[in-house]
């Protein structure tokens, strides 16, 4: 075509970086290996649906690679990736035809293999099932990913002050649920 110059070719290797990509394929491979498992864990545990987590993760990486400009540094890129994933999850819940996260069965959150885990770890699944999606999101980002309030605010698009309050409430709620589940389990045992 006469305007071939305007259409990017399907590049592999370092050549892609020259074609205007913020990250070449080798750098991306490293970044993917380091971030994909955490991203999937976040999506799967917050949505409670591993199949949905697969789809959203793939879409998140495609959008990440489609971005014309990426922030410098792996930490910022990772934060940006989580932000994309958070927005995708939010869009998915907003769609009218899909089931709301609140309607998902509790079994989706329950831990499978419990042999080696402590009481609190085993009970986290059922406890998370009783939390709201936003609460699950905040707790996961804060306690599994160790993000600060400011970083969580950047990822979720909420204000830092709101994060503080929401996280405080969510934390109190999940701790109460964990304690309740753990004592109930002890009584059953």
């Amino acid at each position: 075509m006469i305007w071939d110059y305007a259409i990017p070719r399907v590049e592999t290797g370092v050549a892609a970086q020259d074609a205007g990509h913020p990250m070449d394929s080798e750098a991306f491979a490293g970044f993917y290996e380091r971030s994909a498992r955490s991203l999937w864990a976040y999506l799967a545990r917050v949505s409670g649906n591993p199949a949905l987590a697969d789809d959203l993760m793939q879409e998140a990486y495609l959008r990440f690679l489609g971005a014309s400009h990426l922030a410098d540094g792996e930490v910022a890129c990772r934060r940006y990736l989580f932000r994309i994933a958070t927005n995708l999850m939010r869009d998915h819940w907003r769609r009218p035809r899909t089931s709301s996260i609140d309607e998902l069965p509790e079994t989706l959150f329950a831990a499978g293999d419990v042999s080696a885990a402590s009481d609190a770890q085993v009970m986290l699944g059922p406890a998370l099932a009783q939390m709201r999606p936003r609460e699950r999101q905040l707790l996961w980002l804060a306690y599994a990913e160790n993000y600060t309030h400011a970083e969580i605010a950047e990822i979720t698009g909420l204000k830092s002050a709101s994060i503080r309050l929401l996280l405080f409430r969510a934390r109190r709620k999940v701790a109460r649920l964990l304690r309740k589940e753990t004592s109930a389990e002890r009584i059953r045992a």
Binding site: R9, T12, S25, W40, L124, Y143
Partner: protein, 171 residues
Amino acid sequence: MTLGQCAREKEVIDLLHGGRWPAACEPELREHVAGCSLCVQTVLLKSAFAAALVKAKGEVRLEAPGVVWWRAQLRRRSEAVERVNRPIVRAQRFALLINLLAAVALLASQWRHGFRLAAWLSGVAEAPVFHPGVLWTTAAQQPGWNLMVLVPCVAAAVVLGGITVYLATER
């Protein structure tokens, strides 16, 4: 609402982050944690979420990064093609609209004159535009005609040339 905070929570978090809890924890801090509901909560949540993260990371089946990269490249390309084609699609729609308007105008004028299409076509065929000899004579006699003939001719040539070049390069 007061958001509870403990001054020693950061120390506990640092130990948990570094994987040094409880082994590297000083007895004094451990004593504090045992008596502080906020620090107990922090330890409980941090260890539960850390274990959940490790477990979830083991469940994922990752695609090869090359496949993801390749898909992203294909998407970039198809988006770029769509972007480039957008003005052409708009021009095609505009041309279709003009043609429809012309057809409506023709039908309206024919309806007004009783649908005498054959008579109208013969009238058009006899027009000086289709008879170069008559056209040049008229143009020479009336200077305004030069522009009236030249501009549409040049415009038609440009449009046809553009279409030819587009089709040739497309092929």
